[in-house]
């Protein structure tokens, strides 16, 4: 009889962890509240920096967990500690007894409408990074103009924003903006493409190469300054204001499309889970790791582990790496080592 491990969240973190747990000889039970696996990545088109189709990654992960128990459209309704075990009850009536739980509940994309000055939900041609990926995936949208003359990207929407309650950097938006700017320029070579940034945080492998390509091959203009205000002109174009902080002057430009790089905020559902399992929440609203250097996947409760963006913004490779290390830590925990 293989030992049960409950994995909460069926995004790439939960899928990869389940795959590793299967390989280690356990019986992972994957619980996902939506009707599909793959989480945010399943909605994405291509992944930086190799431009690999996101769907390929999700399918590969799927192939690795065909032997796992997967419950879709299912939520965790309670978690109770019984001596050395946890009793996990699910919304479909199933109850599971297990010694280890992995939480991979991910993040919530910041609601860009909360930054009212950008006019998301007010002006048709203001969209988010996720809306643009959906369009890249072939979903028609009349909000994306058919022949834009100029396109802008706003970095740090709802991240590095104390007022919005999300003071952390979302890490992936800078490189995503560069990626999407290149993809727009490939589709509309005549369009002028601007990125409005505060800092460019291109920390990952190949990210800087991507940035140089964006400048060199695609002529994308990077303007250091946060967009302060978006309005609409009489002919339906967007009037964007920012300070060009490198020139020290206010700047304005008319755009046909403005893409807001909505950041990662904590998944609000995690608060309820934390209450049930008596887990600590960090000051940023994400789950608190026992140690942010050497134990990012370890919680304050015995047998409960974390993987991926439930503890903070992560890239896909970081998430996959954490899922593997969490699976290994669960293995060692269950072996009593």
């Amino acid at each position: 009889m293989k030992e049960n491990v409950v994995v909460i969240g069926g995004g790439v973190a939960g899928m990869e962890a389940a795959r590793q747990l299967l390989l280690l000889g356990y019986n992972p039970i994957l619980v996902e509240q939506q009707d599909h696996l793959g989480g945010h990545v399943a909605q994405w088109n291509r992944l930086f920096p190799d431009m690999a189709p996101a769907g390929d990654l999700v399918r590969r992960l799927w192939d690795g967990i065909t032997d796992a128990n997967i419950f879709l459209e299912t939520r965790v309704t309670s978690v109770n500690r019984l001596k050395d075990d946890y009793l996990v009850m699910l919304s479909n009536g199933v109850s599971i007894s297990c010694r280890a739980i992995l939480i991979a509940s991910g993040f919530k994309l910041f609601d860009a409408a909360r930054k009212e000055e950008y006019g998301y939900g007010v002006y048709d041609h203001v969209v988010t990074n996720a809306d643009l990926e959906s369009w890249f995936n072939g979903n028609e949208s009349d909000r994306i103009p058919s022949a834009p003359r100029s396109v802008g990207f706003v970095h740090c929407v709802g991240s590095r924003d104390l007022k919005a309650g999300n003071s952390q950097c979302s890490k992936v938006c800078c490189i995503t903006a560069v990626k999407q700017a290149i993809e727009m320029k490939e589709r509309f070579p005549e369009a002028r493409v601007y990125c409005f940034y505060m800092d460019l945080r291109l920390f990952g492998k190949k990210y800087e190469d991507f940035y140089i390509r964006a400048q060199q091959e695609f002529g994308i203009q990077f303007i250091r300054g946060r967009v302060s205000e978006v309005g609409e002109t009489l002919d339906g174009r967007l009037q964007v204001k920012a300070e060009d902080t490198l020139s020290g002057k206010p700047l304005k430009v008319q755009l046909d499309l403005l893409v807001l790089m909505a950041g990662m905020s904590c998944n609000p559902d995690v608060a309820e889970l934390a209450r049930m399992a008596r887990l600590d929440i960090d000051s940023d609203g994400f789950l608190r790791s026992l140690d942010n250097t050497a134990g990012i996947d370890v919680s304050n409760r015995p047998g409960i582990f974390y993987a991926g963006a439930c503890t903070g913004a992560k890239t896909v490779p970081e998430t996959l790496g954490e899922a593997r290390s969490a699976a290994l830590d669960i293995h060692r925990y269950l072996q009593g080592r």
């Binding site: 940035y211 490198l246 002057k249 430009v253």
Partner: protein
């Protein structure tokens, strides 16, 4: 002109839709590396003319992108080439300045 006790100030706003970036585009065609400047300021920091003349290659490239006349700054350059030693993107800055002077001629 009669003094009414007030004056009209010209807006300092940079209007990218009206900016004439023709010179910048010509520079990029001749010196493609102009595009990869990341505004770090190394060139301006090391420039021997900068403290006395207001020359800043960083501001020259930025000014061209914004359609401004950068000749007054260029005139401060003594073509010593120190800036080309410090550019982290390896731009041949001295050559770029000479090319730009030719565009202005």
């Amino acid at each position: 002109m009669m003094d009414f006790g007030f004056k009209l100030s010209k807006s300092a706003t940079l209007d990218l839709d009206r900016a004439d970036t023709g010179r910048y585009e010509r520079l990029c065609a001749l010196e493609p590396d102009a595009r990869i400047c990341m505004n770090c300021g190394s060139c301006s920091a090391t420039c021997t003319a900068a403290p006395f003349s207001g020359m800043s290659l960083r501001k020259v490239i930025l000014g061209l992108q914004r359609g401004q006349d950068v000749r007054p700054m260029l005139q401060g350059c003594m073509l010593c080439g120190k800036c080309s030693m410090v550019c982290p993107r390896g731009i041949n800055t001295r050559h770029l300045i000479l090319t730009l002077c030719r565009i202005y001629d």
